[in-house]
Amino acid sequence: MFYRECGVRHTTYAADRALAVIPFERALLVLLIVLAAAAPWIVTDLFLVSYLTPWLIWTAAVLGLNLLMGWAGQIHLGYGAVMAVGAYTAVHVARAGAPFVVAVAAGGLVAAVIGSLFGLPALRVRGLYLAMSTLALQVIVDWILVQVPAISGGAQATLLVPRPHIFGILLVTDQARYWAAAVFAVLVALFVANVRRTDVGRALIALREKDYAAAVIGINVFYYKALAFFVSSFIGGMSGAALAFLYYRAVTPEQFGLNVSIMAVAMVIVGGLGSIIGSFFGAGFILLAPIWIEHGLRELAAALSVHISPSTLAHLPLVIYGGLITGFLLLEPLGLAKLYDNVRNYLRVWPFGYTKK
């Protein structure tokens, strides 16, 4: 019905490989971009600052991790540390007087170099052992960040982030910060969507399916694995910097601990491995669902006048969040992207469901 492919003919290869082939989807994309640009006038300031901005920045981070986990098939349980490296580098560069864009790029670059270190074990082992060594590196990098006063200012310190300015325009208002986050997320999404269509993207997919077979057909496994870690860490570092500048406005090591790494992986899996729209869904769902479900339960308990102790309430988000991870893995391992895909496939041929491939 909506996703009607009737009359969509591909007369050139370029048209066939376009990012959005179905006209309805193109219209949807335009609508979404217009809505996103106009969001500051649509939603309240609180919603903009505490939900939309972090969601968009987290989406960028998840896209970076998805590039590594969904496309290249490498497990990474230390993404939080990579983001931390990016955030701290960017803040220090900005404090030295560099403009925002330069600081974020520097953060990405340093994070990419450190992040390639995480890829070192990937050149030797995979799967389980890669997961454990990235987990270990997360702990090590965390410790170095906390312990070296030149980086974090000491164990208990919080670094204030200087105000970001882009091309001489100071980003002071919440709206400006939101727009910067939105532009960043869109750019990263465009980049990842395009990587998928290039030879690099296809090499990564071959690598994911079976690295030995990929090597046989002439793909340099070492090079592409290292490249995947480098690029994904670059995006992660920039996202960490963006979080620091546009959302937290101060950096502490706890913002990027082991739990954050787990959260990033959860976002990728709940959203859907190797899916761009899934990265948006996953980041939003993991970020917002526990908050909303907890609110709902709170109000339900109040309405039914059931007393829930504060200690139980404090632990409720953790239970919901863990439950979401396990629930999705058990019931829909392909994540929210698969659910969206089901609806899309259904509507593509509606009302002629029997023509479904």
């Binding site: 997961a131 987990l135 000491g154 164990a155 632990h315 988000p317 953790l318 391992p333």
Partner: protein, 293 residues
């Protein structure tokens, strides 16, 4: 010199207690090839249950521990039956994340239901240290080290029993075990149950050392480092690796911590994991059938 010896001896005893946590991971890995990242959460839940049975329900010490071990065994069995069995054939990241999701649920649900404040483990061990010449040894550590050795020995004996031999067969080859009539699913479930029961006993010891609260689940990193260094499928490796990790961690943190802000212990374990994976991924005694790139 005395300082070094004191660090080394206490470290060795703590290392044996790490080995006990790690043995739960090894048990499950041996039978099903799954690394249970929820083992830290299992230990925490076990400690909470022991505390609840003794302090809240008024059971005696031994009945309380046994009841907790039985409950944790049931939890382990249920985990396999309801969750892990449905994940057979899925990519390893999915299975790892599932166990981690379980860890998060336990970390939220158990303190949420039983109280988040740190509770003393109600077992009668005097806090007074034992003096060995000039060396000061924590009494709880001695008990913990002894129990750990006994438990690992019991597990070694268990692998000589009928069920244990079946488990070894399953760890060798699922299909071949099936062919000779071993109930593979039931054996894997049994290994989860045993690992849950071991977690309860471990919980008692660690609860006595650092009190019962959520931070018990942080033992996961230490246990992982011990399990990886020993070889993920080697029970005897766990003991030696536990001693190594324990001594290194205690001695290094004893000498380095005064100069940095502390927290060296976690890092020693992490460095052990990283170096083991880079240099000798199958650990000290693990089988060398590892997926190489």
């Amino acid at each position: 010199m005395t300082f070094l010896a004191e660090l080394a001896i206490n470290g060795a005893l703590v290392g044996l207690m790490y080995a006990l946590v790690a043995s739960g991971i090894v048990l499950v890995y041996k039978s099903s090839g799954v690394v249970n990242l929820a083992q830290g959460g299992f230990v925490m839940a076990g400690a909470y249950l022991v505390w609840a049975y003794i302090a809240r329900l008024g059971l005696g010490l031994i009945p309380g521990i046994l009841a907790a071990a039985a409950s944790m065994g049931a939890l382990g069995w249920l985990t396999e039956r309801l969750a892990l069995r449905r994940m057979i054939g899925q990519p390893v990241i999915m299975i790892l994340m599932l166990t981690f999701g379980l860890e998060v649920v336990l970390r939220g649900a158990v303190p949420g239901a039983l109280g988040a404040d740190t509770k003393p483990m109600p077992i009668p061990i005097s806090q007074a240290p034992v003096w060995l010449g000039d060396i000061l040894i924590n009494r709880t550590y001695i008990l913990g080290g002894a129990v750990a050795v006994v438990m690992v020995a019991l597990l070694a004996v268990f692998f000589r029993t009928r069920a244990g031999i079946a488990m070894r067969a399953v760890s060798d080859d699922h299909l071949a075990a099936w062919a000779v009539g071993i109930p593979v699913e039931r054996t894997v479930a049994l290994s989860w149950a045993v690992s849950g029961a071991v977690a309860a006993v471990t919980g008692v010891l660690w609860g006595a050392v650092q009190g019962v609260d959520w931070s018990l689940s942080l033992l996961l990193i230490k246990a992982l480092s011990v399990a990886v260094l020993g070889g993920l499928d080697s029970l005897s490796g766990v003991v030696l690796a536990g001693l190594i990790v324990g001594v290194f961690e205690s001695v290094i943190s004893g000498y380095v911590d005064p100069f940095v802000g502390g927290g060296t212990r976690e890092v020693v374990a992490a460095v052990v994991i990283f170096l083991t994976v880079l240099i000798r991924p199958y650990g000290l005694f693990g089988r060398e059938v590892i997926e190489r790139v």
